[in-house]
């Protein structure tokens, strides 16, 4: 049905191509490994971060925990945001300093993920603050209904 291959397959030495492939793959693997080693960000809870001691300092970390109630301080002039993050059982406190407005629904006790570095001064400098949320539907608890939060804005609204 199809014309046969012209010219019989030639026997070639495989030593050179195989060496080349091994060298290339090795070099590439080494590069990737180095890149991953330096640039991987660990997800840690406050207790896990504290347990790492100085090893957990000045490396990029994603800190996941809860905002400790009563610790949120927000200065809308300097845009400084400070709060403490604890494990879900309330232990292992870490002070966090962040720049920029807190997310609208930011409040005591909520789950957060803070990306940043834990400094030698025991202050976690956050470069990014994310509120933990899932796509799963969960009925809002009392006081969580958005309507209650912005009711006053709904009056006389134009636009």
């Amino acid at each position: 049905m199809t014309p046969p291959e012209t010219g019989a397959p030639r026997k070639r030495s495989l030593v050179l191509p195989i060496t080349a492939v091994v060298v290339l793959v090795g070099a590439f693997g080494w590069l990737i490994w180095g890149g991953l080693d330096k640039n991987v960000v660990f997800f840690l809870t406050p207790n896990e971060l504290l347990a790492k001691g100085t090893g957990g300092m000045n490396v990029p970390v994603r800190l996941g925990g809860q905002v400790k109630p009563g610790t949120v301080k927000w200065d809308d002039k300097t845009l400084d945001l400070r709060f403490d993050v604890v494990d879900t059982n309330g232990t292992g406190m870490i002070h966090v300093k962040s720049k920029g407005a807190p997310p609208q629904m930011f409040r005591d006790g909520m789950g957060v993920v803070v990306e940043g570095r834990f400094g030698a001064d025991s202050l976690f400098q956050s470069s990014q603050l994310m509120v933990k949320h899932s796509n799963e539907y969960r009925a809002p608890k009392a006081g969580e209904k958005p309507q209650e939060m912005y009711k006053s804005l709904m009056k006389g609204s134009g636009q």
């Binding site: 049905m1 407005a101 969960r138 969580e144 804005l153 709904m154």
Partner: protein
């Protein structure tokens, strides 16, 4: 009613796919009553398309009718959601998107069979059977772990509606269909590869020509989908960026890299009869990577290995990937003698060499992104730690590859096939190099500090000049040979060799998009301030003044917005309304930034927070130069692919 009809259609589809995808190719292979078995395989393609259309149509009907007795509707539907977003939530969640995937695959299969109905030989019959075998897998998912038509009892009165992020922007109607057309389209080249192996046409150059055009079509859709996805992320996620090396983004990008490599290396095979085996690997690899990408994004494994083990669909995908890999290995190994390419590289200085380098770089790029995407899964499974691989890794590893690719895009067109000449090359590259030096000087003068940014701008200048010169030199030659006007000569030049010039047009799209990406990431400036109505903030040369904070109720959501005016010399020249949309099913408001676009750049504004009495609002302003160039570049890339892939007689 609807439910029974759809479930029956899915089961019949499963049977049709099993007959056409497994029994028919065996029949064709044995040779007895071969024509009858060919008719069975091709008829099955049409039958499957009808059946899956019934099932998908039934789902859309059920969504539109708010038939909450059907599990998928109960999961993503809601009476308050506008009809438009209700209907497109067909692809908003797992089960619906698998159904949509199966439909797109059936559509492609019909296209393959219909467009090649007059082609003799066994290539197309075997390819149809391969497509049906792939469809069989998706039918198994649809009657098994991803069945969207379960009966819900008691029937709920209302549902939660689609994920708020997916009903907040019109691009949700555009990006997923494009992505599926691109992703699923890569099944066609794979099916042709299977067909070529089974029919023995693997050594015949014709199957590669067929495969190339289908790959180009799917590649154009995938390119458009990636750009549309970037646009969506820019318009919806509210951080002013468009690419975050997120696993979901990577999943769409990884097969794009191998498909791009194939579109280049197939030229080397056609011209020089080299790389046969390599091209087969790229075709198979691209297909496997689309299935792997679907597995990653649809099994829940990305958020956590544990989320994956809770569902069963992941195991189906793993089994399918294993079957395809074993089959592909057997296919390649069994034919490696036939596939040994007779062509040889004549000289190091030739266009072939540039294509080989391009393939090497794209492959390295693909593996880098793939390893970065898979590493967190391996780390969690093996070492039990949760890690993420973020931008620093990808920037460090891929920026050198990207700038090298940009540079090669300028060298390739300047070199002839077979054997080049260093003096000719130097002479041809001189204008490009001059432009590159000028661009570098300007960019450094404007204040770019990153080496890669300077290299990116300068190589875009170089390669852009080299590609433009191809058009100019060719058109000029026609002007002097035929006495045509320059514009006419240019159009006829492109029409006369659309594959080549379509490719250069796609290159130009890459340059335009690369300029947008480099400029918006290098010269971005931002500011954030809490303002009372009447107060202003200054970012760069832009002054933004808060007018007021307001709220309104809509049917499916509540909206809080801020009206912010851009002021110059005391006069308002634009007004933006960044908003937060509150959906009843979401704890978090969905940021809805407002963007003012000009060809020179965007003013991107996001409402970060507001006081409940409207006394103040925190506004973030980001100035990003040349962002619209990225979307424009996407359009040019698609145009180039169209010029290159459109059937000949329609344009000529």
């Amino acid at each position: 009613m609807t439910r029974l009809l759809a479930v029956d259609a899915l089961w019949f589809g499963l049977i049709v796919c099993a007959i056409g995808g497994i029994i028919a190719p065996i029949g064709i292979g044995r040779g007895k009553q071969r024509d009858a078995w060919i008719a069975v395989a091709q008829g099955a393609v049409y039958a499957n398309f009808l059946l899956i259309t019934v099932a998908a149509g039934a789902m859309m009907w059920a969504l539109a009718r708010h038939d909450f007795s059907i599990s998928y509707v109960a999961q993503v539907g809601s009476r308050a959601t506008p009809m438009f977003y209700t209907v497109i939530s067909l692809w908003g969640a797992l089960e619906g998107s698998i159904l949509f995937w199966a439909w797109v695959l059936a559509l492609y299969s019909v296209g393959v069979v219909w467009l090649n109905r007059k082609r003799p030989g066994l290539l197309v019959p075997y390819a149809s059977a391969a497509l049906l075998a792939i469809a069989l897998f998706f039918h198994v998912l649809l009657v098994g772990p991803a069945n969207p038509f379960h009966l819900v009892s008691p029937v709920p009165l209302d549902g939660p509606g689609p994920n708020p992020l997916l009903q907040n922007h019109i691009l949700m109607a555009v990006h997923p269909p494009l992505l599926y057309l691109g992703y699923v389209g890569m099944s066609v080249p794979f099916a042709f590869a299977v067909g070529a192996v089974l029919s023995g046409e693997i050594t015949n150059a014709d199957w590669m020509r067929l495969t190339r055009r289908w790959t180009l079509t799917a590649w154009a859709f995938l390119s458009a989908a990636i750009i549309a996805g970037m646009w969506w992320s820019y318009e919806v996620l509210g951080w002013g960026g468009y690419w975050a090396w997120d696993p979901v983004e990577n999943a769409s990008f990884i097969p794009w890299l191998t498909a791009t490599a194939y579109l280049h290396s197939v030229m080397v095979q056609e011209r020089r009869d080299m790389l046969r085996l390599w091209n087969l690997n790229l075709v198979v690899g691209t297909f496997v990577l689309t299935i792997l990408g679907t597995f990653l994004t649809r099994s829940g494994i990305i958020s956590s290995v544990h989320a994956f083990t809770q569902g069963t669909i992941g195991y189906y995908f793993l089994a399918f990937i294993a079957i395809v890999l074993v089959g592909a290995l057997a296919m390649v190994a069994g034919n490696s003698d036939k596939l040994r390419a007779p062509g040889k590289l004549d000289a190091a200085l030739s266009r072939e060499t540039v294509f080989l380098l391009n393939n090497l770089l794209l492959t390295v790029f693909m593996f880098t992104v793939l390893i970065g995407t898979l590493f967190p899964l391996v780390a969690e499974a093996v070492r039990g730690v949760k890690v993420s691989v973020g931008e620093p890794f990808y920037n460090r590893m891929t920026l050198p590859v990207m700038v090298a690719l940009l540079f090669l895009m300028g060298v390739g067109p300047a070199l002839p096939w077979k054997r080049g000449n260093m003096d000719d090359l130097k002479r041809k590259m001189l204008p490009g190099l001059i432009v590159a030096a000028m661009v570098a000087t300007i960019v450094v003068g404007v204040g770019a500090k990153s080496v890669y940014a300077v290299l990116a701008f300068s190589f875009v200048g170089f390669a852009g000049t080299m590609n433009v010169m191809e058009f100019v030199i060719g058109a000029r030659a026609r002007v002097s040979a035929h006495g045509e006007r320059f514009g006419t000569a240019l159009l006829r030049l492109i029409a006369g060799n659309r594959r080549r010039y379509g490719g250069y047009i796609a290159h130009m799209g890459i340059f335009v998009a690369a300029t947008g990406i480099a400029a918006s990431s290098t010269f971005r400036s931002e500011g954030e301030a809490t303002l009372k109505p009447g107060q202003s903030m200054v970012v760069g040369k832009t002054t933004a003044r808060l007018k007021d904070v307001w709220g309104r109720e809509e049917k499916q959501r509540s909206v809080i917005g801020a009206t912010v005016e851009l002021v110059r010399d005391g006069a308002v020249y634009a007004s933006l309304t960044p908003r937060m949309n509150f959906y009843p099913t979401s704890q978090q408001p969905i940021p809805t930034p407002d963007v003012r676009s000009t060809p020179f750049g965007d003013t991107y504004m996001n409402l970060m927070s507001f006081q409940q009495d409207g006394s103040s609002a925190t506004i973030k302003v980001i100035l990003e130069p040349l962002v619209p160039w990225i979307w424009m570049g996407g359009g040019i890339i698609v145009l180039g692919a169209l010029v290159s892939a459109w059937p000949v007689r329609k344009l000529a």
